[in-house]
C-alpha cells in the first residue's frame, strides 16, 4: 500500500492590512483558504513564501512574540478540557501564556464574570451548553489580554440565539479596544460586525472593502427570491444559463426551498422564472434590494468565470 502525497496551494498572494481597533472580516466558501490564512498568521503554519507581520512581528521569525500578543478562538465545541472546570481550563492556559501569577486569578474571575460564567465556574465543562462553551472559548482567547484576537468561524454550528449572544460579545470586545480578525460563512454577520471585509476564494482575495463598498458591486442589480417546493438542480442550472443572470444561489435541502437569482433584468425576469419553475410549487416570489450576500455571490461567481 502506498499513500500518495499531494501538494495543494491553499493560499496564494493574499495581501491585506488590518488597522488597530478594527474588526476585519474574511469571508469565503469552504476550502477558500480562510482558516489556512489564520493558521499562518497565528504561527501554526509556516508560509512557504511571502511576508506576514502581526503587530509588527514577523510570523516566521518572531514566533514567540506573535504568540504572546495574540488570542485565538477556533470555535466549535472542542478545544476545551471538558473533564475539568472553567477555572482550571483558564488557569492552565494562563500559565502557558505566562500570565503573571499576581494577575492570573483576578483576570480569570473578571473574564468569567464578563462571559456570564462565574456562577458555573467550578462545574465541569462537559456539563456546559454549547453557548457556555463558546463563551469559555472566548474567555480562553482573552486570557493573555491580547491586543489582537483571531476568531475563526465563532458562530458556526450555534443556534441563532447563542450566535447572537456571541456576536454581542464580539461587539463588546471591539468597544474595549481590541483588534479582531474574524472569519465567517455568514454574510449578514460580516455585514453587521465588520468595518471591512475581504472575500477570499481559491486562496486569493477577490475583493476587499467596507460592507457598503462591496454592496456597490451589485447596485445595478436586483434579487429575485423564490420560495417554493420541488425545485430541482436542473432548474437551477437553467437560470445560470440566462445571459442577464449574474449569480444564482439555491437552498434545496429544506422543506421550504429558497432560490435567489441576481439579475440586471429586474421584474422582466419573472415570466422566465415562472416558465422554468412551471413543474414546481411557488409559495412566494419577491424582488429585493441586493445584500452583502448577493455582492459576495456575484464576486465569487465572477472570479469563477
Amino acid at each position: 500500500m502506498r499513500r500518495k502525497k499531494t501538494q495543494v496551494t491553499a493560499v496564494k498572494d493574499v495581501s491585506f492590512e488590518v488597522d488597530y481597533g478594527e474588526l476585519f472580516g474574511l469571508v469565503g466558501p469552504n476550502g477558500a483558504g480562510k482558516t489556512t490564512t489564520i493558521k499562518m498568521l497565528t504561527t501554526m503554519l509556516i508560509p512557504t513564501s511571502g511576508v506576514a507581520k502581526v503587530l509588527g512581528y514577523d510570523v516566521k521569525k518572531d514566533v514567540t512574540k506573535v504568540r504572546q500578543n495574540i488570542g485565538i478562538v477556533l470555535g466549535g465545541e472542542r478545544g476545551l478540557y471538558t473533564r475539568v472546570n472553567a477555572i482550571d481550563n483558564l488557569r492552565y492556559f494562563a500559565d502557558l501564556y505566562g500570565v503573571p501569577v499576581s494577575v492570573r486569578d483576578k483576570r480569570i474571575k473578571e473574564l468569567l464574570q464578563f462571559m456570564g460564567l462565574w456562577d458555573r465556574a467550578k462545574d465541569r465543562v462537559e456539563t456546559y451548553s454549547k453557548g457556555m462553551k463558546q463563551r469559555l472559548h472566548l474567555a480562553r482567547g482573552l486570557i493573555n489580554d491580547p491586543q489582537l484576537i483571531f476568531l475563526d468561524e465563532p458562530t458556526t454550528g450555534l443556534d441563532p440565539e447563542i450566535a447572537k449572544e456571541t456576536r454581542n460579545m464580539i461587539r463588546e470586545l471591539i468597544e474595549k479596544g481590541k483588534t479582531i480578525l474574524l472569519t465567517t460563512h455568514y454574510m449578514f454577520e460580516a455585514d453587521e460586525l465588520c468595518k471591512r471585509v475581504g472575500i477570499i476564494r481559491n486562496g486569493e482575495v477577490v475583493a476587499l472593502d467596507t460592507p457598503s463598498g462591496l454592496k456597490k458591486y451589485v447596485m445595478d442589480t436586483s434579487v429575485v427570491e423564490v420560495q417554493g417546493f420541488g425545485i430541482t438542480e436542473n432548474e437551477v442550472a437553467k437560470f445560470k444559463g440566462i445571459p442577464d443572470v449574474l449569480a444564482v444561489s439555491a437552498d434545496l435541502n429544506e422543506d421550504k426551498q429558497v432560490l435567489k437569482i441576481q439579475t440586471t433584468k429586474g421584474s422582466e425576469i419573472i415570466s422566465e422564472v415562472q416558465q422554468i419553475l412551471k413543474n414546481s410549487r411557488i409559495y412566494d416570489l419577491n424582488i429585493k434590494e441586493p445584500t452583502l450576500e448577493d455582492a459576495y455571490l456575484r464576486l465569487i461567481e465572477g472570479s469563477r468565470k
Binding site: T42, M44, R78, Y81, Y92, F93, Y97
Partner: protein, 260 residues
C-alpha cells in the same frame, strides 16, 4: 516566554486533574499490579528471597514504564481528541515543557503502581521485603522515575507526527521492560542486547534501587549507577528537546499538526 517551571507544573497539574476525574486509573494502578504480583510470586514460589524482590520491583518498574510510555503516546493524542492541540501549540510556551509535565505526572502515577505491588506483596502474599536502606531506596526510585519520564519524552516527540502512537506504545512496552533488566538481571540476556540495555536510564536505576533495597552498606556501584543514569537522563532531555523542535517545525511546515 512563560517560565519553564510554571508550564511544567501546570501541565503536571492538568494531567493529574484528568487522572483523578477518570476512575479508569483503578485498572492499571490497582487491579493490574495485583494480578501481576500474584502471577510473578506464584512463578517464583519456592525460590530464595531475592527472586521475590525481583518480582516485586520488576512489576513496579513495569507499571511505571508502562504508564509513562502509554502517557507519552497518549499525551499528544489526548490533545488531538480534545481538540486542544492547536491551542496548546499556539501558546508561547514550549511544547516540550508541556509534555514534560504530563510525562512526570504519569510516571508518578505509575509509581503508585509500584507502591500497590509492594503493599500487595507484603500484606496479601506475605513476602518478606525488608528494605536495607529505605532513604537511598526512595532516592534512587525518584531519580529512576525522572529518567523514565525523560525516556518517555523522546517517544512523545515522535508521536507528534503520528496518529498510531498506541500501536508503538504497545510494541515498545515489553522490549524495554526486558532489556532494562526490570524483571531479571541483564546478565541472563544475550550479549548483543547489552548495548541497548546500557543506553537505557532505567537499567541503571533498577540496579541502584536493588542495591539500596538489599544492602545497608551502599557500595560505590550504587553511586556510579546513579551517576550514569543521570548522565543518560540529561542526554534524553537534550535529544528530546532537539526532536521536539524538529518535529514541531516539520508539522508546522507540512500542516500536519492536527491531522497527523
Amino acid at each position: 516566554m512563560p517560565e519553564t517551571h510554571r508550564v511544567i507544573y501546570s501541565a503536571f497539574r492538568m494531567a493529574m486533574l484528568h487522572w483523578m476525574a477518570d476512575p479508569q486509573w483503578v485498572i492499571p494502578n490497582i487491579i493490574a499490579p495485583f494480578v501481576f504480583t500474584f502471577v510473578a510470586l506464584t512463578l517464583f514460589a519456592g525460590a530464595d528471597g531475592s527472586f521475590g524482590l525481583y518480582a516485586v520491583l520488576g512489576g513496579g518498574m513495569m507499571g511505571m514504564w508502562g504508564n509513562t510510555l502509554y502517557a507519552s503516546g497518549f499525551a499528544i493524542d489526548f490533545e488531538r481528541w480534545q481538540g486542544t492541540l492547536e491551542e496548546v501549540v499556539a501558546a508561547p510556551s514550549n511544547l516540550l515543557h508541556v509534555i514534560t509535565g504530563r510525562s512526570v505526572s504519569n510516571a508518578l502515577f505509575g509509581l503508585t503502581n509500584m507502591v500497590a505491588i509492594l503493599l500487595i506483596a507484603v500484606f496479601v502474599f506475605r513476602v518478606p521485603l525488608g528494605l536495607a536502606n529505605p532513604v537511598l531506596f526512595a532516592f534512587s526510585l525518584v531519580l529512576t522515575l525522572l529518567s523514565v519520564s525523560a525516556l518517555g519524552l523522546i517517544f512523545a516527540s515522535s508521536f507528534v507526527l503520528t496518529r498510531s502512537a498506541q500501536i508503538f506504545t504497545n510494541g515498545l512496552e515489553f522490549p524495554i521492560y526486558v532489556i532494562s533488566g526490570s524483571m531479571f538481571p541483564i546478565a541472563l540476556l544475550p550479549f548483543w542486547t547489552y548495548p541497548a540495555s546500557f543506553i537505557l536510564g532505567p537499567t541503571w536505576g533498577i540496579q541502584a534501587i536493588r542495591a539500596a533495597a538489599t544492602s545497608a552498606d551502599v557500595p560505590l556501584a550504587f553511586w556510579s549507577d546513579i551517576g550514569i543514569m543521570l548522565a543518560i537522563t540529561v542526554a534524553y532531555v537534550i535529544v528530546a528537546a532537539l526532536l521536539f523542535k524538529l518535529v514541531e517545525t516539520k508539522s508546522r511546515r507540512d500542516g500536519t499538526l492536527v491531522q497527523a
